[in-house]
């Protein structure tokens, strides 16, 4: 506690970081107070002091010297005096922030320009990854084909086989929901049987591949970004490069191949599951038997409907894989950056998949497919 004023300040008790808070206000008043002549700061009653306490004493001395008074310490000895002595007279100044000198025009349009440049960079990186992946692992002495079958199979297991249960469940529910809504609406027109056409065409051409791709973008796209990103953080990517392997070929190519194979197969599974869900619902709500459902489906759906959906699957798989890989390669040094890029990968992959689907819809209608 600052016990006196004027000529002599007496500090007593503990001056440690956890005990100085209550006296801070009073101490700061003391620092600003006016006075004249010689000043002694008596520390003989101080029981303990740490950097925070020592800094306050130091700051007080500096403030008083600034008023033209000579402040001296008394009663400080050994480590206490040493600690106060080594502290600088003024706190090291934080570097001044440079003022933003840009004009309003620049401030408004530079973020937009950055986004455009970033988009261009992403596209360039995606093409780089696609090109490198197609060239394979680029083994230096031409041993083997550069494709590791074990790695491809592992990734197919992780991205394909293990995704089957969730895809089956999701598609069953989607098929059932579409069929139920369709049946209720078409009932007004007495055209309940056409719910089979609705479900069949919608599921096989659009919904089946789209929802499967979105699910895989969330499930495997995030995994690819996280894996490649953490390898980037631990310099594993650099190690591969130094060993003479192309990291894109070694790490990303097997994942792209696995995705491109797995997504069409998962789409087939999803289609079967959704049609089964629809059949169950139409039988329950509208009394359409499985036989009727199948024969109506046979008439409504031709192979081109199935093909129209399936053709999209490998393209969507490639887009998901490349977007995830590009984001993975952009991961920087911190855990936060990994999280940001995984999020970005999933968002961008889902957006790209939907945009691609829209592009295909326009394309099909233009060629009358």
């Amino acid at each position: 506690m600052p016990g006196g004023a004027g000529e002599r300040y007496v500090l007593t008790g503990e001056w440690r970081n956890h005990s100085i808070a209550p006296t801070l206000k009073e101490f700061e008043r003391l620092e600003k107070s006016d006075g004249q002549g010689h000043l002694e700061i008596d520390l003989s009653g101080v029981e303990g002091i740490d950097t925070a306490g020592a800094w306050l004493v130091r700051r007080l001395m500096t403030a008083k010297s600034g008023q033209g008074r000579d402040a001296v310490l008394v009663g400080a000895e050994g480590p206490m005096q040493e600690l106060i002595r080594v502290l600088p007279e003024t706190a090291p100044a934080p570097p001044a922030n440079e003022a933003d000198k840009r004009t309003v025009f620049e401030r408004v349009f530079s973020p937009l320009g950055k986004i455009m440049v970033e988009f261009g960079g992403d596209f360039y990186a995606a093409m780089h990854i696609l090109g490198s992946a197609v060239r394979g692992a680029q083994l230096k002495f031409g041993h083997g084909s550069g494709i590791s079958p074990a790695s491809v199979v592992t990734h197919m297991d992780r991205m394909g086989v293990r995704a089957v249960p969730i895809i089956v469940l999701m598609s069953f529910l989607i098929g059932a929901i579409i069929a139920q809504q369709g049946a209720f609406q078409l009932r007004y027109f007495g055209a309940e049987i056409f719910v089979v056409d609705l479900v069949g065409i919608l599921q096989l051409r659009e919904i089946g591949v789209l929802l499967t791709a979105i699910m895989i973008a969330g499930r495997s796209g995030s995994a690819i970004t996280a894996e490649i990103g953490s390898m980037k953080m631990r310099e594993e990517i650099d190690a591969l490069t130094v060993i003479g392997l192309n990291p894109v070929g070694v790490l990303i190519f097997p994942r792209l191949v696995a995705l491109t194979v797995a997504l069409p197969l998962l789409t087939i599974v999803a289609n079967f599951s959704a049609l089964y869900g629809a059949a169950v619902v139409t039988w329950t709500y509208s009394g359409i038997t499985f036989d009727t459902f199948l024969s109506r489906l046979h008439e409504a759906v031709d192979p081109s409907s199935v093909a129209a959906g399936m053709i999209k699957a490998p393209f969507m798989a490639l887009v998901i894989g490349i977007v995830a890989a590009v984001e993975g390669m952009k991961v920087g040094g911190s855990a936060e950056s990994l999280g940001q890029h995984v999020t970005a990968a999933v968002v961008k992959a889902i957006f790209a998949v939907i945009a691609l689907d829209a592009f295909f819809a326009v394309f099909y209608s233009a060629i009358d497919f």
Partner: protein, 273 residues
């Protein structure tokens, strides 16, 4: 031949024990890593801890810091047995320990200044302006320029990360500081600076330092006492002379090996204590 020489070379009775480990046993599965280990550290000393890789130096440090459970034995830090302490005592104890992890373990999402202020923010009730001043003081104490304060850990070099992590370890002015291989990955000049820094901080802040190290220069230049871990316990502890006198193949080759000889010859007086 391998009887433990429990110090005895120095009159330690009158010194305050900061960390006392008694009959500590730690194991994983059916494998014992530490078996009835005893260790004492006294106030104001720098204890260097050595041992072959895989002998459990890290396990001991992590057990003392309560990151690993012990099978049996007691650990008293600053006179408090953590296992018997209540919540308030444990928190009070936590604020009196500082740890410098081997790779810094700075929080990558926070700047250096925020890293240093994190413990202050949690435990102290100080205004932001004073915390800023203290953070810049800590940076200066560990020899970092003020403009490092607003950098993120990923923007720092290896040596700067160690210094920034030390500044965080010192944020609350702890009594006992644990350093896990503080000079590993630093160049010899940087390592010597770091050793000098630790000695200086010990003198000014009255720290007690528990230092796991493989750096012979550190052992010879700043450590007051050395403890060797081997055969699941403290094989020998004492001054450098005790190490030279101790009859064990590993200890002999460690302190009298080719690398050690170079250091000893360079310094002329290996144990000028």
């Amino acid at each position: 031949m391998n009887e433990p020489q429990q110090a005895g070379t120095r009159p330690n009775k009158d010194r305050q024990v900061v960390l006392s480990v008694k009959d500590l046993t730690v194991g994983f599965g059916n494998k014992l890593v530490l078996d009835n280990l005893n260790l004492e550290i006294y106030r104001g000393e720098i204890l260097g801890f050595v041992g072959a890789s895989g002998t459990g130096k890290s396990v001991l440090m992590r057990t003392v810091l309560r990151l690993l459970p012990q099978r049996s034995g007691t650990i008293e830090i600053l006179g408090t047995d953590y296992d018997k302490a209540d919540e308030a005592e444990r928190i009070a104890l936590d604020t009196r320990l500082g740890v410098l992890f081997q790779h810094g373990a700075l929080f990558s999402a926070l700047t250096v200044k925020e890293n240093i202020q994190l413990p202050m923010r949690e435990y102290l009730d100080l205004p932001q302006s004073l915390m800023d001043e203290i953070a810049y003081l800590k940076l200066e104490m560990v020899g970092l320029p003020p403009d490092a304060a607003d950098k993120y850990p990923s923007e720092l070099s290896g040596g700067m990360i160690k210094r920034a992590a030390l500044a965080r370890a010192l944020a609350l002015d702890p009594d006992l500081v644990f350093l896990d291989e503080p000079t590993s990955g630093l160049d010899p000049i940087g390592a010597a600076d770091f050793d000098a820094l630790i000695a200086k901080l010990r003198d000014t802040l009255g720290l007690t330092v528990y230092m796991v190290t493989h750096d012979l220069d550190s052992l010879f230049s700043v450590c007051d006492r050395i403890a060797v871990l081997g055969q699941k316990r403290v094989l020998v502890e004492g001054t450098l002379e005790d190490m030279f006198a101790f009859d064990d193949a590993w200890v002999q080759s460690y302190f009298r090996g080719k690398r050690a000889r170079t250091v000893v010859t360079d310094e002329n007086q290996p144990a000028a204590k």
